[in-house]
Symmetry: C2
């Protein structure tokens, strides 16, 4: 019989569900404060999601962007981690039901992030892949490498093109960065590794419903990104919807059909709310919170990061689902929990926009910092520095830096091993 | 319909099965020679087997010791690689039957290596794990990390010990290096990552049937290894057989029973001969060859490396299954194939023993070079230098070196992520 085995403590117990940017930063803020901190996650590692696309395109190893949770918080007092899946929450009894039994809380913090939103189309999920987890990224890598090996065994040009073509739905940061990395793979790795195949057989489609790519960034960044990707040979469709995918053909809203074995969905995410909350507390999977991240109608349940829906005059639809928002909400909530215990006045969340950036390829990136819009080499270096800064752990920073330098100077990628033989 | 799609060539076709040390070195030797070289492997990468135990103990990432085959031989003329499983060989028709269809050969080279020999005990295979492939090593890592998380959820001390205890059958290099790495994990990582558990609950058993560990090395090396491991708290049983394992308890020949969830088999390997050869050509899974590695009774089929059984006065039971033998046989056969085409006299294989070594832990290794026996720090540095030298690819050497340095100075390991949630 498995039990959570969480020891009793004289301190109030804060249970945090999810070890993403929000959860991790909350734990850090509560270090050495008078709380018993219990962190639950169904993985034993924190994933650095902004670099998932490099794992999917064989540029980085999974462990370079994953950091073991116990490694982050080693030697921390009053900190407890459990590998567990949360089943539901029972706010009335202050209890969380999990795969390792019920867990009582004094404060509950839901930091469960977001999941792919397929808008009810089961086919996208069944025949395609999302790009939200390390599992999906490794799966895309293995599947892609397998498809190229398979294309070598086909005689018919149309069949080869179908095996090599990749269709990405969604022109947000994930779709853009993935399309760029694939175009670089096609240009540098493909001709050297597969001299028997023509790189012209591999088509990369990026399908976006809005009138421009990177709709959350500036017009300048969108235009530059579009130019970069088009130059790299990515076929970009704007104001175009993906209607369906049956595992063989992608059907577009404009009537066009694209035969392909590879369909990646990055056209929408939704909040990953926990079961057990009341229906009126949840909108689009996100949990409605006040400016202190307290869940509406609850006294001791908080939500932070992507899963939290906090609205104000500037953000009538809620804050964007960004790492920076999650990090800042985690830190603010940590400080507020201490204030609440001390019966001091709380401080509402106030977001400090540090800018947004996306990388398209070698020496090609776009950055918005307030009114400043940069692109090209300087933006690309900034992107690299910022991502290394936020990557957890010295070893990871060093290994990622070396992989980047190695790829930059050799035009090679070291990690294209096909780990699952039979998919 | 998948076809091998191997183009016609004016040159004689050498088909090589297996991209281990033997196969890879043969391909290299045949570069720019008048042959069409076709390499088949069921993985798209070469595995550096000597460091598998570091993957199993979370010291290195899989891709650090795996090198994509297409990366090794990029830009090589007349070289063709196919991802394929070989079903059998038909020597009479000079044809190999594979998962991608039949492949004709002028010369066939079998370099399929060795597999775990469970000596007919299905239980060892079903409930335990071998340590011969990257899959098994990653599986051991994930399973071990999962067991520790599970031990936290148990109340009963005996149940916790059973979850944490690891029994290794076989005191050869694999068993010794694995036991040493696990003992270091228990000493350095365990207390920091799992302060709720006592490291005393984790027992490491090393069970060997012979009167000493590392029976293929010198008496001095065996004695020193025994001393190192005993000091590190490994429970060593000599002249003891493992009779059975039912998934719950390991039954030893001396009547002792060890309750454990983790049983690793490194007590025997056998040749991985291809089906289709005649029974009298095979002994213990190895294929009998003459001193030119030609399979007895065949005119154009060769076997090299672990799978080849070459006997002489000094080696009445065949050469040991070592990387050095495989490398040297691959190179010698390559040169002989050229000579055979040129109708020049062939040179028989002659083995140059460059010494053997094993590492037990931090600053602890043993080395035999002829009559010279070294141990301790100097042997450990030599071990590291030699392994880095033989590891394929600059990126891999650099990443492994950094991981080693990082672990050495921080007593930390970076890659203990549990990638499969549900095993």
């Amino acid at each position: 019989m498995l039990q959570s085995n969480i020891p009793d403590s004289p301190y109030p117990r804060v249970v945090i569900v999810g070890a993403g940017f929000a959860g991790i930063n909350l734990v850090k803020t509560l270090h050495n404060k008078p709380f018993q901190v219990v962190l639950l996650d169904r993985n034993n590692f924190h994933t650095f999601q902004p670099l998932l696309y490099q794992v999917a395109t064989a540029g980085l190893e999974p462990s370079s962007i994953a950091f073991p949770i116990r490694g982050i918080f080693r030697r921390k007092n009053k900190f407890i981690y459990r590998l567990a899946e949360v089943e539901d929450v029972s706010p009335d009894t202050h209890t969380l039901n999990t795969s390792i039994g019920p867990i009582r809380y004094d404060y509950l913090v839901i930091a469960t992030g977001s999941v792919s939103n397929f808008f009810g189309n089961k086919n996208f999920e069944t025949y395609g892949s999302g790009m939200k987890s390390l599992y999906e990224a490794v799966g895309i890598r293995n599947y892609g490498l397998k498809n190229i090996e398979q294309a070598l065994l086909l005689k018919d040009r149309a069949a080869q093109e179908k095996a090599l073509t990749i269709v990405i739905a969604g022109g947000g940061p994930t779709g853009v960065e993935l399309a760029g990395a694939l175009a670089e793979f096609r240009k540098t790795i493909f001709p050297q590794d597969y001299p028997e195949l023509s790189a012209d057989l591999m088509h990369i489609y990026l399908i976006e419903g809005a009138p421009r790519l990177l709709a959350n960034m500036s017009e300048q960044a969108s235009a530059q990104t579009h130019k970069f990707l088009a130059e790299m040979g990515v076929k970009i469709y704007l104001q175009t919807l993906v209607k369906d995918y049956d595992g063989e053909v992608v059907y577009l809203g404009n009537g066009e059909q694209i035969p392909t074995q590879s369909f990646i969905w990055s056209a929408g995410v939704k909040g990953n709310a926990l079961p057990g909350l009341r229906e009126e507390q949840i909108k689009g999977g996100r949990i409605e919170v006040d400016t202190f991240n307290l869940v509406k109608g609850c006294s001791n349940v908080y939500a932070i990061g992507d899963v939290a829906l906090m609205t104000d005059n500037d953000h009538p639809k809620g804050y964007p689902m960004l790492a920076q928002v999650a990090i800042q909400q985690g830190k603010n909530l940590g400080a507020n929990l201490v204030r609440r215990q001390n019966k001091e006045p709380l401080r509402p969340f106030s977001y400090r926009d540090k800018g947004t950036m996306a990388t398209i390829g070698r020496n090609k990136a776009v950055t918005d910092i307030g009114k400043l819009h940069l692109h090209g080499f300087i933006a690309w270096v900034m992107w690299g520095v910022v991502h290394l800064m936020f990557l957890m752990g010295f070893r990871n920073k060093l290994v990622v830096f070396i992989n980047w330098m190695y790829s930059y100077f050799t035009y090679d990628k070291g990690t294209r091993i096909l780990l699952k033989r039979h998919i």
